[in-house]
């Protein structure tokens, strides 16, 4: 489609979604969505409330089965992957959920090693390294011995992020992972993701609300609206006022930031 330099090798598909219908019994939230994410991409999935973003996350992570269509992760249909196998291929940075029991933050991050461990196996040095590294990257080392229930929303979210990194998967799926954070932390998290994406080739799929944050870091954007894929393409071609006005049904102005190749969106009153 957009091959600027023709003889470049196309990276293998990491996620393949084909004509997926998915939702609650009797009501499809996703009404036939198809897209492919290739290795090394940094994709933002955006759209207004109720567009089907959360359902897409649940379908991709195998929590809610697709009623029709197919989802493949690294070449295997998600419903045929074993649970642990799936969790070794893709980690989900979940939305802050309910935490009933006061685990220490390090215990929470250690849970990310679960898909790599056998039933009676104790934590190996390999596990400890992964945990330490994940906590270091997310700047959560100082929370190690603190209780997860004693942290603020944003702090908790970073621990959950560390847990996902400890899974050491080639694909990271973020589900509104930075919504509870302030601007400074949001940027910090996305800088980390950007670095892992560029240097380690980790594929990032970030489901998010914040168009401007996505515009700074994602190289490709998917827009969902009412269960359909409304737009899909490189940021440059998707981030236009005409398209955004159609999706968000509100006047929009898109501005280039001088001195960079980035754009930002201003929603007009």
């Amino acid at each position: 489609m957009l091959s600027a330099s023709a003889p470049q090798e196309i990276p293998p598909a990491v996620i393949q979604v084909e004509d997926v219908h998915c939702g609650y019994p009797g009501r499809d939230v996703l009404k036939g969505v198809s897209f492919t994410v290739r290795r090394g991409e940094f994709v933002g999935v955006l759209g207004p409330n109720g567009a089907g973003k959360t359902t897409l996350v649940l379908a991709l992570s195998g929590v809610v089965p697709a009623r029709k269509g197919s989802i493949e992760i690294l070449g295997t249909p998600v419903d045929r992957l074993k649970h642990k196998d799936r969790a070794r291929r893709m980690a989900v940075v979940a939305q802050d959920g309910e935490l009933r029991f006061p685990f220490s933050c390090m215990d929470i991050v250690r849970m990310g090693r679960y898909p790599h461990q056998g039933r009676w196996q104790l934590d190996t040095l390999r596990d400890e390294e992964a945990v330490e590294r994940a906590m270091d990257i997310t700047d959560t080392v100082m929370f190690a011995q603190r209780l997860i229930t004693a942290l603020s929303g944003g702090e908790r979210q970073r621990v959950i992020m560390a847990r996902a990194l400890a899974q050491e998967t080639p694909v990271l799926l973020l589900d509104e992972a930075t919504s509870a954070m302030d601007i400074h932390r949001k940027l910090q998290v996305f800088r980390v993701l950007d670095r892992m994406n560029r240097h380690e080739g980790i594929t990032v799929i970030a489901v998010m609300h914040d168009v401007n944050l996505a515009a700074l870091f994602c190289r490709r954007m998917l827009f969902l609206k009412e269960g359909w894929l409304a737009a899909d393409g490189p940021v440059d071609s998707v981030l236009t006022s005409e398209l955004l006005e159609k999706i968000y049904e509100t006047p929009v102005m898109v501005q280039a930031i001088s001195g960079t190749d980035k754009k930002q969106v201003v929603f007009l009153p």
């Binding site: 649940l58 929590v63 979940a94 009933r100 029991f101 849970m111 400890e128 330490e132 100082m142």
Partner: protein, 371 residues
């Protein structure tokens, strides 16, 4: 939902400190080992002391020599057979039964609380104990109590069927609107429990048992039990305990909620099903020999969690030990409080001990209970 608790963001801008070197590689903290060790020691001590208590007076020296004689028969050759019978076959058997029953109930409570994410769950509040008691009474009334098949007594099997049936009923009632709510589940448990208690009373009356037997069955009792009862419980406790130990890591992950547990690679449906069955099996075996003893499964897991944290691999052994200890102490009180060898149902004692503790949790640890 945990949202809207109004936490002020207190983020340290650049608090990059090195990892605390004390913890990483040694996984089981010394605090947990200390807890297990001191519980074990207390149990051994308590078992010895309570073996000397009873209407028939026996000096501790005699008890000690009789216990030694289990290893080398010559140690107590001069002691009267009646005394030997009372100490070994009545008291020590009863001590062992109290320990196994308590361990079973507490373990089941910890599993129910972990799997259902419900701090009020335990074999009693969920109606599982009453279900098991109903199954067992029905089996006794129909004369199945003495049936053995491949060396397995029919009684715990009937109790297990009753326990699973009651749990299923409570589960159905508790999730009327598609979701399971902590309070609805307990309400459903109380309804099922009350209903089945009435049936137990009726069955017992049909069986021409006296009212006092019914009371002892519904409030729990270990009186008149022997080694055969201990042997009845132990296989089930070991089997159930093994399954529970198998899934202790998953129990930790389940506390993150279904979605996150599944995203981390837990087969939530299967794991939950197996854990609930294992907990019900263990409960059923305990109830089949002891009747309904409340509060142990509710209080013990909370007590242990408060002291060594919620990680189930540390928690479960301590829970089993403390559960055993609590029932042992309660049962000793039950058989020695009243003068003249009269007994109180042990469930009465556990409720009297456990009630105030739970009041304390409700008043001072609301946040911990997250109600």
């Amino acid at each position: 939902m945990a949202g809207g608790r109004g936490n002020i963001e207190s983020e340290h801008v650049d608090g990059r400190s090195p990892l605390p070197h004390s913890s990483p590689v040694s996984r089981i903290p010394s605090r947990a080992v200390l807890c297990w060790g001191s519980l074990l020691l207390t149990i051994v001590l308590a078992a010895f002391l309570t073996s000397g208590i009873g209407s028939f007076e026996t000096p501790y020296k005699t008890v000690w020599r009789l216990l030694l004689s289990l290893l080398s028969p010559a140690a107590a050759a001069d002691i009267d057979d009646t005394v030997r019978y009372i100490v070994i076959h009545v008291r020590v058997a009863r001590v062992c039964l109290a320990l196994t029953v308590g361990a079973a109930l507490a373990l089941a409570g910890a599993v129910y609380q972990g799997v259902l994410l419900n701090p009020l769950a335990d074999p009693f509040t969920l109606g599982v104990s009453t279900g098991a008691a109903f199954g067992a009474s029905l089996a006794i009334l129909l004369g199945w109590g003495g049936i053995h098949f491949l060396g397995i007594s029919a009684l715990p099997v009937a109790a297990f069927a009753g326990a699973v049936g009651a749990l299923y009923l409570v589960y159905l009632l508790g999730r009327m609107d598609g979701r399971i709510h902590a309070t609805t589940l307990v309400l459903a448990g109380i309804i099922v429990s009350t209903f089945l208690s009435a049936w137990i009373s009726l069955l017992k009356s049909l069986n021409e048992d006296s009212v006092s037997t019914i009371v002892f069955w519904i409030m729990g009792s270990l009186s008149g039990k022997s080694w055969s009862h201990v042997m009845l419980v132990i296989p089930y406790l070991l089997a159930g305990g093994l399954i529970i130990a198998c899934f202790s890591r998953e129990l930790d992950l389940l506390s993150l909620g279904d979605v996150q547990a599944q995203q981390l690679g837990v087969d939530v449906q299967r794991v939950r099903f197996r854990l609930l069955l294992a907990a019900s099996l263990v409960t059923a075996a305990a109830v089949a020999v002891s009747g309904i003893i409340g509060f142990v499964g509710l209080v013990v897991p909370h007590l242990v969690r408060l002291s060594i944290g919620p990680g189930h691999r540390r928690l479960l052994p301590a829970v089993a030990l403390l559960g055993g200890l609590l029932v042992l102490v309660s049962d000793t009180l039950a058989r020695s409080l009243l003068p003249g060898g009269q007994e109180v149902p042990v469930g009465v004692v556990t409720a009297i001990l456990g009630g105030p503790f739970f009041c304390y949790l409700l008043l001072h640890r609301k946040k911990y209970l997250q109600l």
